[in-house]
Subunit: 272 residues, 2 copies
């Protein structure tokens, strides 16, 4: 079912407009929420095996417009799992030191080790999104970066890092509702930034750049998922389904004891 | 109630033997478990305010013998909160590069920023524990380090980092049961290391070194808590109570909107 929202090659032109941010995947809300709880449990069990077996790393990339629900995806879909070996890295505006290096430099320092799961809340994709929308890079540089990013992701995959990329797709009207909520609810005020309003004016340019990213930076080993995110319950169900399916394909197993198990048991029993 | 297990100065000799690892704090197990769930919710709410207000950082140090339940404390007491701004750092045997620096060098790189919570699963305290038990440092060096650590913690506290240190206290018999469980349950095999058996032989030396740490590295701004940990439900209840009480004292608040709120609401409403 998720196949229709999954992009696995970079040989055809994709547009974000091909996808409906209001999509509910023909799901009943109540059923999906119940299923989401089961998926969380399954994810938790799979994470423990991933951690114990130390064969693969998992990198989860979250991208999307302001208010698309990246923070919420972390706090709802991706919470309640073992915090050991699980981390979230939010990439902000680069520091002067980071800017003095190539754009993947700060990224590579944060990629997960074997057994670990790392979530990128924004990522190196900002280097072909916000920079492009604001004219800091031209189209030629963007095209070069698409290739560099594909190669970087291939390299990570060759070195045991599983990559899942989620574009949280919302409508412009939905963003307006969310911005108003941040202003009107005191406990959400801190999430509001005046800059969000300026970025909102560049909505169309962002959508075009996202379409390019989906078209040019998708592959079977690092697919993009377009996640309908106007409904938060769809977003959570979708992301967890994709993660669980991916981890299940890895045939993870708990490692066995090295050495003679009975001898070790006897030694522990004999100890003071 | 936790006061009896909290050490807030370094002016008197403390022994781990003064504490009973089987202690249940006069609690009923069922009541404590119900209370633990409420504490988790409270922690979650406080964490969000800590994160939003960005005034303080929280550093949680977990120390204890093998099988004392450090990983379990993370996975049970400290899971289910927002993974954004929350991370766990497990300190392993230092790498050659880390060893080429002073012992706080690798530690300082991992301390939390304002708004963040970081859990150290083992910590710089290993540099006055495992190193001392194995004769890599002498008593004079240990005494120097106690002072250095006190000063380091005072420095962090002066710079808005709240520090809570938990010594997970178990009995030697309890460790034996846990080691056997790791050997006998296939899904726990991966947690067993033959080295644990060798370290077990040094139990008494470790207890003496822990007693020194509690005696010499406690202060009101970076107290040690001796957590009775033979019962996991006591451990979880204890740790969460200490964290919640500490965060509540900070009088955390959500920040308010900067600028004219109504003007911003109007601007969002007027936007396309």
């Amino acid at each position: 079912m998720l196949k229709d929202f999954m992009i696995t090659s970079y040989d055809k032109k994709i547009s974000v407009d091909d996808f409906n941010p209001d999509d509910t995947l023909n799901l009943d809300k109540k059923d999906a929420k119940a299923e989401t709880l089961l998926l969380k449990e399954r994810f938790r069990a799979l994470q423990e095996m991933l951690y114990a077996s130390k064969k693969y790393a998992l990198l989860i990339v979250l991208q999307g417009m302001d208010c698309s629900g990246k923070d919420g995806a972390v706090n709802n879909a991706l919470s309640e799992i073992n915090p050991s070996g699980f981390s979230v890295k939010a990439f902000k505006v680069p520091t002067p030191e980071e800017l003095s290096h190539d754009y993947l430099w700060r990224i590579h320092q944060q990629t997960p080790g074997k057994g670990e799961i790392t979530v990128f809340n924004r990522s190196y994709y900002e280097d072909v999104l916000v920079t492009r929308v604001h004219g800091q890079i031209d189209d030629k540089t963007a095209r070069d970066r698409f290739e560099e990013i594909r190669n970087f992701e291939k390299y990570l995959r060759n070195n045991h890092t599983i990559i899942l990329k989620f574009f949280l797709h919302i409508s412009k009207e939905f963003q307006k509702e969310q911005l108003l909520e941040r202003l009107e609810e005191p406990e959400k005020n801190w999430k509001f930034s005046e800059n969000d309003l300026k970025e909102r004016e560049l909505w169309e340019q962002y959508q075009l750049c996202y379409s390019d990213v989906l078209s040019r930076c998708s592959s079977s080993h690092a697919p993009w998922y377009v996640v309908p995110s106007n409904h938060r319950w769809v977003r959570d169900y979708f992301i967890l389904t994709a993660i669980v399916k991916t981890l299940e394909k890895l045939d993870l197993e708990y490692p066995e004891i090295q050495g003679n198990e009975q001898k070790l048991i006897d030694a522990v029993k004999a100890s003071e």
